[in-house]
Symmetry: D2
Subunit: 395 residues, 4 copies
């Protein structure tokens, strides 16, 4: 299915070699200032070829709003957004060879098994270009969340290969206990992330990551990594038990991004190894006295927690603490190194070598995509809970 | 929302202290032999008090089919299933104290923030009892998948605290490269899993896990762990790009289970640290010559892969290899150790001590729940792809 | 599919000869007083055998709430409701004969074509008993709508055969222009409807309708009719363009009721025959000066219309005027008169005669079912618009 | 909501004065030949200004496929279709006057009540231009239905004002009993419909209808009418009990078309006035001996009915007979005659006179829109049932 969200619904379309890619965002609230200028920065951030670490293809990727906005104000009707594909023709890597050979760990084979026909790009909608529609929709949602609730969503590269920004230490075997990490959650900003091309806010680690990616690039190989994300200033009460728990919706959104292999929230996999007595987040009186009162119909909580192993979500519902999670991205499947393979018919007679230049590592470009999916998931949860609160007040 | 699935739709209801819990399964195919006897084993497997490691509450949990089945055959109409709650009254741990204090890392606080009212159990639908409806629905789906396609779904406890069944080794830093692990994926059965109360198929590791859980139990503390799951004999072509990629749907289902903190598929987080050249799964001619032809409308693939870092899914679509994934469960929040806390009003004056006996570790009981959510997700994907294939043949 | 509604979602289950029928209502607001006593009256109103005009089967039909309510207050979690089937065994009309012959204009044939298996009742979920789940859910919604917004929903029998309560007259060829009809829309109450067993609020017409039904009953034949419905005090702004226009959702709900053949809103089919100049509803200042201000977040309109050919909905959205519509019900297919038919195999050798007593006319019993579907549709629209308003206020 | 359909999902966007209107069709089957040439005829048929009876605006309305099709073959991925709006600027009738006055029986008032902001066209998505996306999607579905199953969908104008094509007669008070009407159902074709500009296949009646419309046009007034539609060669078994009964889905689709006020299927409202003994459709052996065997997975039925008061649907499921229904359209609200009205603020001081030329009757242009919604509804039902059949075969 090509739709994400239950109240705020995003439907995307498009593959690599069709006239355009884009999306329709349904049920975006009316009366919100919206313009292409607000959306373009995130779309530009996901564009390839921004630096020597990523594919130097020249894609302008200018977003155009087709509907739902008049005079710079949203009408409440569906907002369609379109980005033209510069090149409709099959690209280099789609020559005769690829027509006979499924590329290893790409979606060439599975798309053919599923649909019985094959797009010229092989993997159809598994193309990274499909993510443009998500980023456009996500930028729209993020804009609303910031405007209406001051919500901040920031993602960054937390590891490349085995270079980790906040590895477990002897003192803090669990990252979510590490004060340095907790401080980062409070402070990390899009500006600090974008200071390095690798999009890691720690300059020293970023330098190592860049070197690592450059090494794999030079070896015609590729490497994976992780993207972490924090969502601050989220109202309490978001997330719909039981099947739309917020962590479930976030996991769904993240694992729908190409090349992802894992998701963990709060203490994550590390949290499975410590005792409950160390993992439980103790309640305290909310320290922010200005947090009382309500904002746009959402009351501020009276309680906070002294730790945040829960990652801001308990029982599938936000507790007001920062939400943070981490997403695993595998190494890109397209590499210059020769790889033995067989034809679609199963004959072993081939070596596959990708020509041209390819991303040796996707995580820097994945940062705005992770932010986009987080924005859509949070906004959907916000609208659903808003509907409930409105109905509850009514009684 | 309380519904999971798009074609095969499962809607659950119920909390700890209401008359019953259960579910409605919509769009289950007609003409399938169905009985309560087929469903009961999985429901009994999730029951607490099966051994000294888990809560010794006496819950019979007999499932009763209410509709959609006549003469032991499914009608194609909604199948409602009900399990009575033995005890409708507030339990021990729901005394005066709990009414004033939100239990740390439980959903007491967030449910109140969300709904403005509180169930007697505090966390409403965050109760483990809610999972009965899922297990009933999952058992139904698993039964169909086995019958119609020979699909096998087996989950097991792969770690308790820091005791791992298949830890990374010097030779195999990536578990999905470890031949011993790959053999386990082929061989693990529900029988081998149930040999130990801790539900780890490796007897030596199981013994250590049991000891670990017993230690935490004796210390009035708790510990987390992971559950792994393999799905064998899956047809190719399942999973709906782009937002219902099969790994996304599986992640969604798993993170909707109470106490989960993470999900990884195939090489997972480990896979982010190895080169693409080592991660790519090379295509080979399918070794199983009996796999040609088709089964129930789903053709068997001509290709397989020599490795399986993808975990059976590429581009969100199954490639016919075993699907395997791992789910992280945090340590249970309810512990006997005293914990400082504050009242709902934010006054710091309390110590919370859980009375009675509580699960020191949930992963053994989580095994059938993981299997249930996997079954539902796979069956939904199967029906969706079946609809497509039928439409495609029609052209 | 067995679910109706997008935000407020009702999923029903059950057929004639299974243990129970019922439903799950998801996303009902928390904090609302709810009890079985509130729901039972509507369920009892749809029960057969309430008088000599309808089937005298003895069905107690007591509703039991299974979840989502504690201490008489809704929790915001799914509310499951169950009504036991008194008789699980195949009934009289399900003897050998029916097994060979599809009953004319029943769903015996089409259910078998669709599902390939047959329920003992022949038509599976086409049984009138299926509507119990809807009526339970509708009673819950109606209760909320009344409590939160003072919304009143009243349906009544507007025709039986060719006996019409408000036939077109020379003076008023269009019913929606007839002052007597407009007054009825303002005044009709459940009490005035229930004064006659036929559920027509006009005693004289009701007497003729009763006689008409009795005649058809005595002739072992059956007759159809129409049910009209008015919804008063609806806030403006309900209905979601473009595919969930309120009239579309109402039509969907009504045509999902067994035996329905038509739906018209406002001026309906008659309205197609008059000029636009006579059909347009002119705007006037809202006459009710107490209508200013807002109620539970929904502002009262400043404008009203001097006529109401629109039936309270313009562009798919409520304008604050009473919503009224009419639903056509065909004559019941089960009659005592002998009917020639063929076996499922196509052999012409049979006469079908229904034994026992059957409803000669369904419209009196359809009244609470129409009210139920209207209640669910309105509440869903209200919650969706509430979510939007909440989001809009936030900007 | 802007999405219609559960498996085959159509999401539309756009209003009168934005850059484009269009839609995304999700889950269209792969491997189907698709081109803009196939879609354009229906889009052109709904275009205004095709003759003197309708608005002479010059809208080229060329559809452009954006995605999901390569080399003229559908990929199975979302098919986005776009039609540019020629004129983004506010039109004549959107001058100062309209900004102060809500047009009677338009959606100006209700859109403002709902969204709090107003599109320059007043009624936002209530514009007839919104229907282009539906017609594009419908043309795509119709093409598939014809290709895969030989299904034919034809709509025509069955009445304008009080001029009816097949009025009840003394001999046949019920239209569905009238042999002339039944013959029309078998024979009516798009060609015979398009012979007259008014789109009534009976030349004599068409001439009267044209005169009627011309009279209303000359009087600066408007008139309503009805559109009837037949769907031939539908497989048995389509339609999903209980809330997606096919007649419910058709009613939903039809009532979502602007200006509709009613829907009736088969015998419709007339059918409420005849006895069950005359209304029941008797089963006979299927007369078409070539109908045995199966087509594209859907078996042909062994039984037919001797009459068709059911309109091809029984219990919400197709029985193989032609489906036919009728839709009521009100007279257009925009008329040249002066109308008294009040400002949005409720001040009575205005006369509204529409300038320029406007459609005096919408039914001729509504014909392809009715066909479009029917096509989408049938295709969705077909895919759902296909998924079930595939799953059933599997058992």
């Amino acid at each position: 299915m090509s739709t994400f969200g239950q109240f705020l619904r995003v439907t995307t379309y498009g593959e690599s070699h069709c006239p355009s890619v884009g999306c329709i965002v349904d049920n975006f609230p009316p009366g919100i200032p919206v313009s292409e200028e607000i959306l373009q920065p995130q779309i530009s951030r996901r564009r390839p070829g921004q630096n020597s670490l990523t594919t130097p293809r020249n894609e302008a990727d200018l977003v155009s709003i087709q509907s739902g906005v008049e005079g710079g104000i949203s009408l409440g009707t569906p907002i369609a957004m379109v980005v033209k594909n510069q090149d409709h023709r099959p690209a280099d890597y789609k020559g005769d060879t690829m027509k006979q050979y499924p590329r290893p760990s790409h979606a060439d084979f599975t798309y053919l098994e599923k649909y019985g026909v094959r797009a010229s790009s092989g993997g159809g909608r598994s193309s990274a270009r499909e993510t443009i529609g998500r980023v456009a929709a996500g930028a729209l949602c993020e804009h609303y969340l910031k405007l209406a609730h001051g919500i901040e969503i920031v993602a960054w590269v937390s590891s490349v290969g085995n270079i980790h920004q906040n590895p477990p230490t002897a003192e803090y075997p669990i990252t979510s206990h590490n004060p340095k990490f907790l401080q980062l959650l409070q402070e990390v900003s899009r500006e600090s992330v974008d200071k390095s091309p690798v999009r890691c806010p720690d300059p020293e680690v970023a330098a190592k990551m860049e070197q690592c990616i450059a090494d794999f690039r030079d070896r015609q190989d590729s490497i994976g990594g992780t993207v972490s994300c924090v969502i601050r200033n989220v109202p309490t009460g978001l997330g719909e038990p039981v099947f739309s728990k917020l962590e479930a919706t976030l996991a769904h959104g993240m694992l729908s991004i190409p090349a992802t292999k894992g998701f963990e929230i709060g203490s994550g996999f590390e949290g499975t190894e410590i005792p409950g007595s160390a993992h439980n987040d103790m309640f305290i009186k909310h320290p922010d006295t200005t947090a009382s009162g309500s904002k746009n119909g959402f009351a501020r909580p009276t309680l906070a927690t002294s730790t945040n192993n829960s990652g801001g979500i308990q029982g599938g519902i936000t507790n007001g603490a920062p939400i943070f999670f981490r997403v695993a991205f595998k190494p890109p499947a397209t590499i210059g190194l020769p790889q033995e393979t067989v034809t679609f018919a199963g004959e072993r007679d081939g070596l596959l070598e990708a020509k041209g230049r390819h991303d040796p590592c996707v995580v820097p470009r994945a940062v705005p995509i992770v932010e986009a999916m987080a924005s859509i998931a949070i906004m959907d949860a916000l609208l659903l809970q808003g509907g409930r609160r409105m109905a509850t007040l009514s009684s």
